[in-house]
Amino acid sequence: MEKIENNRIAVSCSGVTKTYGKGETAVQALRGIDLVVPRGKLTMLVGPSGCGKTTLISVIAGILYHDQGQCIVFDENLKGLSEEDRTDFRAYNIGFVFQAFNLLPTLDIKENVAIPLLIRGICRKAAFETAAVILEQVGLKERMHSLPAQLSGGQQQRVAIARSLVHNPRLIVCDEPTSSLDHETGQKIMVLLRQVALSQDCALIVVTHDARIFGFADYIAQMDDGHIISVDSPDKMKEKV
């Protein structure tokens, strides 16, 4: 991995460990993770099931406390933040895209997209106006009054992407964003995600199993058994394979 200037570092993890449970049933999900994620780049976390990918993005996104090590996101040591401050930190800095979209089924698309702004206490009118602008960017302006169930899987994921971007976060974490979609739709989603997120100079972390989208990454961090075993560009990774 090429050297990243300090002011371009979004996430810096060193020696991060996380264990679930205690005693004989304890499972060590992360065993000393060292990872740097730059801004304006798409970093993919890949690896077999149960290798700790989801745990790692949960720690990076500030929704899970790690046990040991340091995880610094935009100069904030997440372990040093109180629960309240972490929640605030997420509200202002992190965007989420989920495998199952997690759109609220009883809210229309515009309301779903506006949620991060409403959580921050922005008034409804302004939040909906911003949501409409983002929905236009993802090509769903005409469907803004539809319910999620009235959209295809690809359209729902575009809504989820719009929701993750609406509050101008500095880091977007995506968990298997294409696994519920067919190949063509998955490719379109990745093009959109890359284009929209990186144009805002966001750091983008994508957890995936889907080898067909590896080509969209700037860096691919390969994980196994709670470790990062390599961080390469997609081309270098291909050469290795």
Binding site: A61, E84, T87, D88, R90, F96, Q99, L104, T106, L107
Partner: protein, 387 residues
């Protein structure tokens, strides 16, 4: 986020109506039970309410309630009149006498004998005739419900039973004495639902079986400027009789029925079960609703919603459901009461009942939402990455 909370709740119609129905049903049942109970209790002192003019009721000290008549000697009336501060005192006969109907059946009736001169204690609402007609020979006034119901003539026309209400000019037989109906009045329904017959005191005592003592109550009023309670105490001290205000007698009657009958416990059990049904149905549905939305609460948490925001959202949902259910339950009960207002159904919706139901519905909402709030509070936002 308040509207988002409401849309989350109302968007799932089936669950939303499930919660509403449970809570509405509960508040309807509880309102009905309490209102019917209040209605029945108000009937226990209906006589006292109807006899509005006198402010003081004087009676044997052992009387526990209005129907518990322990007759006094007629001379007690003069003793009461002689007490300082008493403006006037008049006799009242109250007894249950048998009335023979034209078809040969007997019907027990509440007979009230009013002072022959003043007719104090007479019905306040005459539908036909007038109170002064009681001064005519053998005259009685019958209450409207009794005249149309239990005292009505029944005859068979073309094989069908036809009921002809008692009217002015009809004669009835009270304890082997002839009586002529000279008026129809409206009175509060009685606890035992017996017809009410008004006549004069002297005539009532001739209708009644021979007894040494026949004076049931003495109705009195203090002189202007006299303190009501002090006059009552003075009558009691001087005569040894029990003298209470109208309000005090109502309270005494009410307390007798509350403490000496099984009514409160029976109605209380029904109210308790209504509360339980409401809590369980609404609680289960609301809990299921919350659990099914746990993924979305987790999503909101992950996106930066603080616990107090989620708490507010659930509280708003509970408040909305509670408010709608309360209005529908109380409104439904009031509607039932209105529909059956002229029947035997005892229904009295008091302002206190509205407050009680509000407290009950609020309690159910707090109970059910507390469980949901607890689940949401302890929810780990990392749940969002689990599929």
């Amino acid at each position: 986020m308040n509207r988002i909370a409401i849309k989350m709740l109302t968007g799932d119609r089936a669950k939303y109506f499930g919660i509403l129905v449970g809570l509405t049903f509960s508040s309807l049942l509880i309102t009905m039970q309490i209102s019917v109970f209040a209605g029945i209790m108000s009937r226990t002192f209906g006589f006292i309410t109807d006899i509005g003019l006198p402010q003081i009721w004087v009676m044997d000290p052992k009387v526990q309630f209005i129907d518990d008549v322990k007759p006094m000697q007629d001379t007690e009336l003069y003793r009461v009149r002689s007490v300082g501060g008493v403006a006037w005192a008049e006799p009242l006969y109250k007894g249950i006498l048998k009335v023979r109907l034209q078809n040969g059946n007997f019907q027990s009736c509440n007979v009230l004998g009013l002072d022959d001169t003043t007719l104090i204690g007479g019905p306040s609402r005459m539908i036909e005739g007038n109170l002064s007609s009681l001064r005519r020979a053998d005259a009685v006034i019958v209450d409207e419900v009794g005249a149309k119901g239990k005292l009505a003539h029944t005859m068979t026309v073309n094989g069908q039973n036809v009921s002809i209400p008692l009217k002015i000019g009809d004669s009835i037989e009270i304890n082997d004495h002839r009586a002529i109906v000279v008026g129809i009045c409206k009175v509060s329904r009685t606890f035992q639902s017996q017809p009410v017959i008004y006549t004069t005191y002297s005539r009532a005592t001739t209708f009644a079986p021979r007894e040494r003592k026949l004076l049931s109550f003495i109705l009195a009023t203090p002189k202007p400027g006299e303190n009501l309670n002090e006059v009552c105490q003075r009558i009691t001290r001087v005569t040894g009789l029990l003298a209470v205000s109208s309000y005090g007698f109502k309270y005494r009657t009410l307390m007798y029925f509350l403490t000496s009958t099984g009514l409160p416990i029976n109605f209380g059990i029904a109210v308790f079960f209504s509360f339980m049904v409401g809590t369980i149905i609404s609680g289960m549905t609301f809990y299921n609703f919350t659990m099914e939305n746990m993924r979305y609460f987790g999503t909101l948490k992950a996106m930066g919603a603080k616990n107090r925001l989620l708490l507010r959202m659930i509280a708003i949902e509970a408040l909305l459901v509670g408010l709608i259910s309360y209005c529908m339950g109380v409104g439904g009960a009031a509607f039932v009461g209105f529909i059956f207002r002229n029947t035997e159904m005892a229904f009295l919706l008091l302002p206190h009942t509205l407050i009680v139901i509000a407290v009950v519905v609020t309690s159910i909402c707090i109970l059910t939402s507390s469980l949901c709030i607890y689940q949401v509070m302890k929810l780990e936002p990392a749940i969002v990455f689990k599929t």
